[in-house]
């Protein structure tokens, strides 16, 4: 593959530096949701990474989703994921979103998030701490940087 030119490098750099998030609750108990909105407060300050909380999936790059995916929210989650423009990433916050957690074989739960949408990063924990959520975001962005640099070399 040919070395990428300056415009593509600029676009890759801007995607790393400006991840806008949208938060969705797919059947969670709200414990991880409280931690997610806690991570967005001035104490943890996600705006220094360029993250903004957006209301609509059409403006967002990263879908931060909590909760074991119930049969009722399966279609809704899929629809929100499809409304996001490419390129997009998904973070599964909390043990229930990673694998279904203690609700795994429940009669109305379809499991973790990867039964519905492709997941980029898994954040275990019940509830996942805000520091863990930020750590996962930084690791996602750093791995993006590494893969972009690997394409260059």
């Amino acid at each position: 593959m040919a070395k990428r030119n300056i415009i593509e490098k600029a676009i890759d750099w801007s995607r790393r530096k400006s991840p806008w998030i949208i938060h969705f609750n797919a059947g969670a108990c709200n414990g991880c949701d409280i931690e997610v909105v806690d991570a967005l407060t001035p104490r943890y300050d996600v705006e220094r990474f360029g993250m903004l909380l957006k209301g609509t999936p059409r403006h967002a790059d990263v879908l931060v989703c909590t909760g074991a995916v119930t049969l009722q929210t399966r279609d809704r989650l899929k629809r929100i994921y499809e409304q996001m423009p490419e390129p997009k990433f998904v973070l599964a916050v909390g043990t229930c979103a990673c694998s279904g957690g203690i609700f795994e074989d429940c009669y109305c739960v379809s499991g973790g998030m990867d039964t519905v949408v492709p997941v980029s990063a898994y954040i275990p924990g019940c509830a996942a701490r805000p520091e863990a959520i930020l750590d996962a975001v930084v690791k996602l962005l750093t791995s993006l940087e590494k893969s972009q640099k690997a394409i260059d070399n």
Binding site: S18, G55, H59
Partner: protein, 312 residues
Amino acid sequence: MALAIFNILVFPGFLFLSVYALALEYVDRKMYARLQNRKGPPWFQPLADFIKLLGKETIIPADVDKPVFKLLPVFTLAAVTSAFLYVPIWGTNSLFPFEGDLIVVLYLLTIPTLTFFLAGWLSNSLYGAIGSVRTVTQLFSYEVPLFMALLSPAILADTWKISGMAEFYQAHPLYILLNLPAFIVAIIAIQGKLERVPFDSPEAETEIVAGSFVEYSGRLFAIFRMAIAAELVVVASLAGAIFFPVFAANPWLGFLIYLLKTLIIVAILAVFKSIMARIRIDQMVMFCWRYLAPLAILQIIINLLLKGVLPI
């Protein structure tokens, strides 16, 4: 002719406006962050946002009016850029001054509000419709006080030319203190024009998902954001030229003074953004018509009476 093209495209036209818009957006976000006792975004953040949005997929809903949908952001940016050509930047003269250009600038600044309304209305979405109706309701509230507040210094100066007003107030600097009510009204109504907190119910994220821009993504949304940031520059420059009549004959010094004036106004707006909450749309209408409009009318009456009395 070549100089005119250079002025329109580079300085102080399109390129300077874009760069300064990103810089003022950074200043606004950084001040807002520091007032919340946190580090804010780095200096390149608005540029990164803009480039990222340009590189995203542009999704256009299936049953909207496609040509209008795609042209609306361009109209907004065009209107705001045209308005910037008539605002004095490095001295008392703007690029193409003519008698009446104050009125033209004010009308050009109404076009973004109408395009926001159309963008939400044509988006074929419930949230867009609510946001667009709120935009127009807000327009009916703040527009009369804002126009009266910006036109009353012109009445005292006996000219409709922004450059003429600037020269008048530079010659008689104490007369600007007579326009203090107009300044108060203007600073408050500017935040309604720019749809900033506390008047940002058209784009109330927690209520109506993104207001008028709910279906815009990618390149179109990037141009809308650039137009919004440029609107901040134009309005701040206009307010600075009218209410802070400090100019210099040397163009470099005058440019530095211009930068200082716009930074002061953006700092005042950032402080308002940090300390206030959003007010409801009916509270906004009541507030503007009960308090701002009478204050602006009072200012016009004062200026009309003083015009016959004061030595000019």
